[in-house]
Subunit: 123 residues, 2 copies
DNA sequence: TGGTTACATAACCTCTGGGTTAAATATACT
DNA sequence: AGTATATTTAACCCAGAGGTTATGTAACCA
């Protein structure tokens, strides 16, 4: 499942340095040295971050002489967006409407339940 | 900045158990024992996962007798969605149009550049 | 050929994350 | 008061993440 990828994608995004690198790459390809400039961090550290991003499928690296330009690879970000869509109603609906939704779900599934709804196939 | 929260939110979402818990909670409040049922895992492990989700602001817990019902708290998910929006064009635009975009960005910012664009204030 | 630049790999350290079992706490039930 | 149920806390273990310095490799330059 796409499930497997989600864990490594989220893990990769959980680091501010890596998110900053992605933000930089959003304005175009860049070689490693340039990506490293904003950070007070050794090159190997940056290299590791890039490897994490690459393994997570968030960036791709090519070769150009002695440079290794990096660019954003958007597929996994799209998967994250799709995963998030399942929860959109939680922040878009007004709270009242959300309550309505849950109450409806509850009574439809298990009319006698009072405390909490029972497990039901998710998603 | 919202930046601080993003790291803990993404970190919380990087675990499949925790995402499954969120998926379950998407269909309504549930107490801890019920959340634990699908998993071959000790209660303290679940308890820790819930604490991570709570600290990340992804769930909230209340009290009801000896139960601690959990529910989704959508604010942080919304922040993730907003963060993602900055990258939407990367998976939505056709590749040609993306190339156009980057080329335009590049020439506008630094007309003489050939290999790669220079650093520029991000986002 | 030798030096410089760009980057990766190796070896190491430390801290945290995710799991365990055992014990504590809180509420309800009789 | 005494037991059962629900949940958290404590103490521990181990693997992995994120950083370091030192070293290796590859391409360009003179």
């Amino acid at each position: 499942m796409t499930n497997d990828y989600l864990s490594s994608t989220f893990a990769a995004l959980a680091d501010p340095t890596r998110r900053a690198i992605l933000a930089r790459l959003a304005s175009g390809e860049a070689p490693v040295t340039e990506l490293a400039k904003p950070f007070d961090m050794s090159m190997p550290a940056i290299s590791k971050h890039l490897k994490v991003l690459e393994r997570a499928g968030l960036i791709a690296r090519s070769r150009e002489a002695q440079w290794r330009p990096c660019r954003i690879e958007a597929g996994r970000l799209k998967e994250v967006a799709e995963w998030l869509e399942h929860y959109r109603r939680f922040w878009e609906a007004s709270f009242d409407r959300l309550d309505d939704y849950l109450r409806e779900l509850k009574t439809k599934d298990n009319p006698k339940e009072k405390k909490h709804v029972r497990k039901q196939s998710k998603n």
